[in-house]
């Protein structure tokens, strides 16, 4: 893996994280914000495959777990985004260049899966004292946010990843 790709990824994830906690928190629906970091991971996995998606998801998740104001048990977002990267990677395996519908569906699926995995890990670890109804609501609202922002966020990300791609033997 080349250094330039990873530098760009690190930058993308950092910017997404900052916007998520410092800008979008002002527009949140009951505190639920669009999961920009997840979108970066999905874009990475869609354009470079599941192997890359998993590693990127894990790294981005660790950052989400440690950067302030996070206070949950570290490793939960890492696990959730790792799974999201894997799921998005499977979509890429099936279709070489995903259609717009496929991209939206992938983001929706990954958003649902990631937040669910995160919430389930919390249930197992008894980390959050949040009711089941609340969890379902957060997953639902988060999914709507992510789907709404996908047309704005994913195309530039996919284009960027495509440009970073070394010449592909086709």
């Amino acid at each position: 893996m080349n250094a330039r790709l990873w530098t760009v990824c690190a930058l993308l994830v950092a910017v997404a994280l900052l916007l998520q906690v410092s800008l979008f928190s002002a527009f949140a629906w009951d505190g639920v914000v669009p999961d920009l970091v997840l979108m970066v991971v999905v874009a990475g996995a869609l354009s470079r495959g599941g192997q890359f998606g998993m590693v990127l998801g894990f790294a981005a998740g660790v950052l989400l777990d440690l950067a302030p104001p996070a206070d949950h048990v570290a490793g939960r977002w890492a696990l959730a985004l790792l799974v999201a990267g894997y799921v998005a990677g499977r979509v890429r395996q099936d279709t070489d260049r995903p259609s717009a519908t496929a991209v939206v569906a992938t983001v929706a699926a990954c958003s649902f899966v990631a937040t669910s995995v995160y919430a389930l890990a919390g249930l197992v670890l008894r980390d959050p004292a949040v009711g089941f109804g609340e969890v379902v609501k957060v997953i639902g609202v988060g999914l709507v946010w992510d789907v709404l922002l996908t047309p704005l966020v994913l195309p530039p990300l996919l284009a960027l990843f495509a440009r970073l791609e070394p010449q592909r033997a086709r």
């Binding site: 009951d30 894990f58 206070d71 790792l82 033997a169």
Partner: protein
């Protein structure tokens, strides 16, 4: 290594981009390790500190740069907060209309500081003013915020955080320029509370509701019944950490009794609107060395 014709029709190991099982297992194990490490208290604190030192100032910068956008009032606040806001704004409106010709952003900021100064006077402690620069997303199921004052401003872990209206929470950990604050509405938060009218003590727990839901007050004395409208203030901890005494928390809105354990629980509506937190103050010992002006207990800037 498994070899064969791949999709591109060349003879090579299977698609190198497909997820490899070994990597998946290694990464999942890494997650498990992280979780285990973090369950052992304090092991990951240095890592959190390092990441915080980098992201804290960045969050402050982004928050400052986007403040003109994020401070667009009204529409984007939480729905529950909006109803209250309308009532409060109507009341304030007439007063503000007179001020508005001479006022601007600075004047509003000054009013905020005035409120905080008054809080400092009321509770009798010195406070370090700070702005909220980042809110934890609800997707994390925790209610935490980042503020732009850290150890260089005299802020330490387990200090009380207040706003002009009342208690906000406590400091969990600090970096040199920022601090992470656990809000009292978080499901993990427990504050010692005292009912103002009867002086009965109890515990105020976060409702765990991600919207600005009520707090739960459970009195130690089972026979005592708080009445609606009573004010709940902090009862204070040993050496003023994590909570100093006498800070207003909220107002009792309703009381219900549980038949199962024959205890009474009161719902407390917090005075602070957690959907619209901006200026807060961290309670510090008087005479704390700080890189910014400290509002002292007598209301003066030091």
């Amino acid at each position: 290594m498994r070899e064969g014709l791949n999709r591109r029709g060349s003879l090579e190991p299977r698609d190198p981009r497909a997820p490899r099982r070994a990597t998946a297992i290694a990464l999942v194990l890494a997650c498990a390790t992280l979780i285990t490490l973090d369950q052992t208290a304090g092991v990951l604190d240095p890592a959190r500190r390092v990441v915080g030192e980098v992201f804290g100032p960045a969050e402050s910068a982004v928050s400052a740069a986007t403040r003109p956008v994020t401070s667009i009032p009204g529409w984007f606040k939480t729905r529950s907060a909006m109803k209250d806001d309308i009532a409060a704004l109507r009341a304030q409106n007439s007063k503000l209309e007179q001020q508005v010709r001479t006022s601007g952003y600075d004047r509003n900021r000054l009013a905020e500081y005035d409120g905080l100064t008054k809080t400092a006077e009321d509770i009798g402690y010195a406070v370090v003013p700070a702005h909220v620069v980042a809110l934890g997303p609800s997707q994390s199921f925790h209610r935490t915020v980042t503020i732009d004052a850290g150890s260089s401003s005299g802020v330490q872990a387990d200090m009380t955080v207040v706003a002009a209206q009342g208690l906000v929470g406590r400091v969990l950990r600090v970096t040199s320029t920022t601090a992470t604050v656990l809000l009292i509405v978080d499901g993990d938060s427990v504050v010692g509370g005292r009912v103002g009218s009867t002086m009965k003590v109890g515990f105020v727990r976060g409702g765990g509701d991600l919207a600005d839901g009520p707090l739960d007050l459970q009195l130690a004395d089972q026979t005592a019944t708080p009445s609606a409208g009573d004010t709940v203030v902090t009862w204070g901890s040993d050496k003023d950490a994590p909570y100093v005494s006498g800070v207003p928390i909220g107002q009792v809105t309703s009381v219900y009794s549980s038949v199962r354990d024959s205890s009474k629980t009161a719902e407390v509506k917090p005075y602070v609107d957690f959907g619209a937190l901006d200026l807060v103050g961290v309670v510090v010992p008087s005479g704390t060395k700080s890189d910014r002006a400290v509002i002292d207990a007598d209301g003066n800037l030091k």
